[in-house]
Amino acid sequence: MHRNQLRDRWQSYLDHHRFSARDSLKRLLSTPLQSLMTWLVIAVALALPATLFTSLDNLKVIGQRWDGAPQITLFLNQRARPQAVEALQQKLRLRQDVAALEYVSPEQALRQFEMESGMGSALSGLDNNPLPPTLLLTPAAGISAADLGLLGEQLAQLKIVDEVLFDRAWIERLQGILTLGERIALVVGALLALGVVLVIGNTIRLAIENRRDEITIIKLVGGSDAFVRRPFLYTGLWYGLGGGLLALVMVLVLLFSLSGAVASLASSYQSDYSLQGLGFSGSLLLVLTGTLVGWLGAWLAVGRHLGAIEP
């Protein structure tokens, strides 16, 4: 008997959740235009940071796919014997983190310099060639920044190597820009999330005001705070969920409308690059964030305004 009663209570607790969820959704749908406005406001506020993050993701992909992976230039000792240079080349070719290696002899370098600098005659007047033998090293694709640094250090320690030059400033710059972009997106996202919380909070406040009598009566006949709160929390949840879904649609439409232009731009660079979407986890995250923020807004409004209604 006691166990049955307990089960009944649990069942009816679930029933009230179901009822609150359904009833609050029905109430939202009974004023479609008003609800749609709220949903749109939330959707725009969520779609903006989502678009920012998606753009950043795309930039990251572009950075990763860059064909000219950072090249390392090794200036060798001018007095290095050809055999030693040959041995170094063989050793380096065996390394897994080295994709390609090109040897530029001092003579080749001088010829190239003469041609490109236009100082041919001036240079030919030199007694001896001031240019060192050079190795142009391309690291393996997808090498991490840390591994790249390590490779550079190891190379610099070789006696035969005078100087190691990294051609990766642009990568660092890109990464710096991306990090900055992510920070900005986070701040914008946080501000807009706060905006959503306030919008939903205000909407819930009005809903509470509209149902003041009902709240009073429920409290009079012994309704607990949780019981009174429940329908409003569900209202916030529905606002957030609807806003999140609408935001997802907005981002997808935006990406779709851009994808053609991006593809033709990429093909002009002989790239098969195409715009990356939100993906499943990104979409889920967007909708969940909306739902959570909606619920939070409702929670804050309920906490602030429900306590003020006492019979």
């Binding site: 009944d8 209570r9 069942q11 009816s12 607790y13 029933d15 009230h16 009598d213 009902e214 009073t216 009566i217 429920i218 409290k219 009079l220 006949v221 012994g222 309704g223 607990s224 705070d225 019981f227 006492e310 019979p311």
Partner: protein, 222 residues
């Protein structure tokens, strides 16, 4: 129940109502009748003195326990306090939904309560289409649906004609007959006289009378 000392609206009010007793609370408006009922419901807290319900000191009752207290007390309001966005049935079922009754058990109790007040045929209607007397009876059904041992009523016959008032009082007497303690705030002296029950008279926040009213009319038809 005992009251001692009181709220600014009530002072030096001290009395006790035994289990199964039926008492009336009289006095002019502003005498403190409603305040007294509110103290029992914890709609107000006593600033001085104590209120005990079923041996429990309400002064020490934490806010989280207030809903549980109210579930054990049935209350009938002068202005009915019904919800017009739902049916008579749903209005009466509200305390049971709050307490978490199984729908089947709740349905049984709601129908029993509605039957008791003679509104079984109107369960699907919206209370807004009912007459004042019928609305009051819906309120009474809601107050008794979870079988409270204490029933409070604040001017339950305030807006009703004498015949309807008398009907409502008969209902309260019937609940009292089955052991429910009943406390009714009313200024309908004629009706109270006829019922010959203990009367607590309040005036300007003080208890000025405790006992049956003298010179009662000896008819108790209802």
């Amino acid at each position: 129940m005992r009251y001692a000392g009181g709220y600014e609206a009530l002072s030096r009010v001290s009395f006790e109502v035994g289990a199964g007793e039926m008492v009336f609370l009289t006095g002019h408006s502003g005498a403190g009748k409603s305040t007294l009922l509110k103290l029992i419901m914890l709609m107000e807290r006593a600033t001085q003195g104590q209120v005990l319900v079923n041996g429990q000191n309400l002064n020490r009752l934490p806010a989280s326990q207030i809903p549980l207290l109210r579930r054990r007390i049935g209350v009938v309001f002068q202005n009915h306090q019904l919800l017009f966005d739902r049916s008579v049935y749903d209005n009466v079922a509200l305390p049971l939904v709050i307490e978490g009754y199984h729908p089947r058990e709740a349905a049984r109790r709601v129908r029993a309560a509605l039957d008791k007040v003679g509104l079984l045929t109107k369960e699907k209607q919206n209370p807004i289409v009912l007459s004042g007397g019928e609305q009051q009876r819906v309120g009474i059904a809601r107050a008794v649906v979870n079988k409270p041992r204490l029933l409070l009523a604040d001017e339950p016959t305030g807006n009703l004609d004498p015949a309807l008032s008398s009907e409502i009082m008969t209902l309260f007497r019937q609940f009292n007959d089955v052991g429910v303690s009943v406390m009714i705030a009313s200024h309908d002296i004629d009706l109270i006289r006829r019922l010959k029950r203990r009367v607590l008279g309040l005036s300007k926040g003080e208890l000025v009378h405790d006992g049956e009213l003298q010179g009662a009319a000896n008819t108790e038809n209802a």
